[in-house]
């Protein structure tokens, strides 16, 4: 890290793994890997081999077939392609869909758009820990239900959903199951050979790859179909056309390969860091932890604090780079709907800070964060007038 800031916003986007950066740099300077991978000439065929290798690398991480992967520009596009594409493809069977209000906007907003297009959406609220109650899901299924979309790891709190149990319920009813796995892929086991998942979204920049490249898993057995979001030169069987960004794809492939081998170490590392962080923050008066301590991905710690204004806290924390609300949309200062759904009141939701870290994070960064958080809270509390102050 450049020493003028401390980056603890890995859930928004991760730094590039140095090996990935090196691969990309080498490719950028190589004269032939840039070519159009669907061209028949030598350069094109070389590019297509690179694309195939990357698909194999990502497929190994997910334990699926390379042909089950479609390259997209990121998880936002993957989510849209999966949800809109499958919902539209299946309208002959029904127009009822199921999801949760705690999904990322790249899922929730898709369902909101579908609601305006004649689809009927059931929004299942989580329990206090953030989890989906499976009985609620059972009760929500209807004869015309075609698709369920539930995320793997929540981007604000790290809370996990029980993908296997949800998927099994969908399979039993012949309902498609889409998983926004953007925060989980490469960090936690996600074995598509054994999970009953039909569609899964992911994005390279959450797993030490570059921004601008994502993937959508579309299961082959049972075979799942989606309508394209857009049309063009027929690349990727027309499901997602456009000249393939070979360098980005190769980078995602390598990031996936590295994740496959370092997942266990990475996990232990972030687990230790989260413990250290929480041990440092917990003693501060009024601190509340958002999200289940056990049932969550340990690379994220989300804390709120009594009677501290969130925006001022964030500025006071500088040069810490952490997030408030949904970091993917931090310009929006409205209190997080995810935290509201966990039962936090406006003030607590508004003071929530998400600290997220990963492979390159260090103990000293965590210690710095703790120190800075303490100081900031102290300083802002010192400035604040008591609520009980007598008005003139």
């Amino acid at each position: 890290m450049r020493d003028d800031l401390i980056y603890l916003d890995y859930a928004a986007t991760t730094p590039l793994d140095p090996q990935v950066a090196e691969l990309m740099s080498a490719m950028l300077k190589n004269d032939t890997s840039f070519a159009n991978s669907s061209a028949v000439h030598i350069a094109g065929r070389r590019a297509s081999v690179i694309v195939e290798q990357a698909a194999a690398q990502l497929a190994r991480l997910l334990n699926c077939a390379p042909a089950e992967l479609i390259w997209t520009s990121g998880a936002t596009e993957s989510n849209n392609l999966a949800i809109t594409g499958a919902a539209r493809y299946r309208t002959h069977r029904g127009k009822h869909l199921i999801t949760m209000p705690t999904e990322h906007k790249a899922v929730a907003d898709v369902f909101r758009a579908l609601e305006t297009q004649g689809f009927d959406v059931t929004w299942l609220s989580p329990d206090e820990s953030g989890s989906l109650d499976l009985q609620d899901l059972d009760a929500a299924f209807r004869d015309d239900t075609t698709l369920v979309s539930i995320m793997y790891v929540n981007n604000e709190t790290g809370v996990l959903q029980d993908i296997a149990a949800i998927g099994e319920r969908c399979r039993n009813r012949d309902v498609l199951f889409h998983v926004d796995a953007a925060q989980g892929v490469g960090k936690l086991p996600f074995d598509l050979a054994s999970l009953p998942v039909d569609l899964a979204s992911m994005t390279a920049h959450k797993v030490y790859g570059p921004t601008g490249i994502g993937a959508l898993y579309i299961a082959d057995r049972p075979r799942c179909h989606v309508e394209p979001l857009y049309y063009g030169g027929g690349q990727q069987h027309g499901v997602r056309p456009g000249t393939l960004p070979v360098t980005l794809i190769a980078a995602f492939g390598l990031a996936a390969e590295i994740a496959t081998s370092s997942m266990a170490t990475d996990f232990e590392h972030v687990q230790a860091l989260r413990e250290r962080l929480w041990a440092g923050l917990q003693p501060i008066a009024g601190v509340v932890r958002n999200g289940d301590a056990e049932n969550s991905y340990p690379g994220i710690l989300n804390v709120s604090i009594d009677d501290i204004e969130g925006e001022s806290l964030l500025l006071a924390l500088e040069p810490l780079c952490v997030a408030t609300g949904s970091a993917c949309n931090s310009q929006n200062q409205e209190p997080s709907y995810v935290l509201r759904a966990l039962g936090r009141d406006d003030a607590l939701a508004q003071s929530a800070v998400r600290v997220s870290f990963g492979r390159m994070s260090t103990e000293s960064e965590i210690d710095f964060a703790v120190e800075r958080y303490r100081e900031s809270v102290e300083r802002l509390r010192a400035i604040a007038p008591g609520r009980a102050a007598s008005a003139t």
Binding site: E309, S312, A316, I383, A384, A389, A391, T392
Partner: protein, 122 residues
């Protein structure tokens, strides 16, 4: 697309709020509105403001605005309180329009401080 939420002035005033605090035994005003709270305390000798302090709970713009107000009006006169206007402040600190509501709370607090002076002096 770009997003630089705080002017340098706001950053400076927010980080070094030299007028944060209270004047023991001074006149005071307190306003709570728009989700923010402001308490102003002041010592004055006749018309001259001797010491002006604030306490506030709110966003960085509000905190910086309070500091700016205190720094600007301290050593001024009570008339300055009456003439206080948000426009110069908003321009100097480059406060975004959507935060006007909060700055109006500061205006209220300043007016209310002026009123408190009149109350105590009559």
């Amino acid at each position: 697309m770009t997003f630089e939420p705080y002017s340098d002035e706001v950053r400076k005033l927010f980080s070094h709020p030299e007028h944060a605090g209270e004047v023991d035994g001074g006149v005071e005003s307190f306003v709570e509105d728009q989700g923010v709270r402001i308490r102003l305390t002041m010592a004055h000798i006749d018309d001259r403001i001797e010491e002006l302090r604030f306490q506030a709970w709110g966003c960085p713009h509000l905190l910086a605005a309070c500091e700016w107000f205190c720094a600007t009006c301290e050593t001024g006169t009570l008339a300055d309180l009456r003439h206080f206007e948000r426009s110069e402040l908003m321009q100097t600190l480059a406060v975004p329009v959507e935060k006007t509501g909060r700055i109006l709370v500061l205006e209220d607090a300043v007016r209310s401080l002026g009123a408190a002076v009149r109350d105590t002096s009559t």
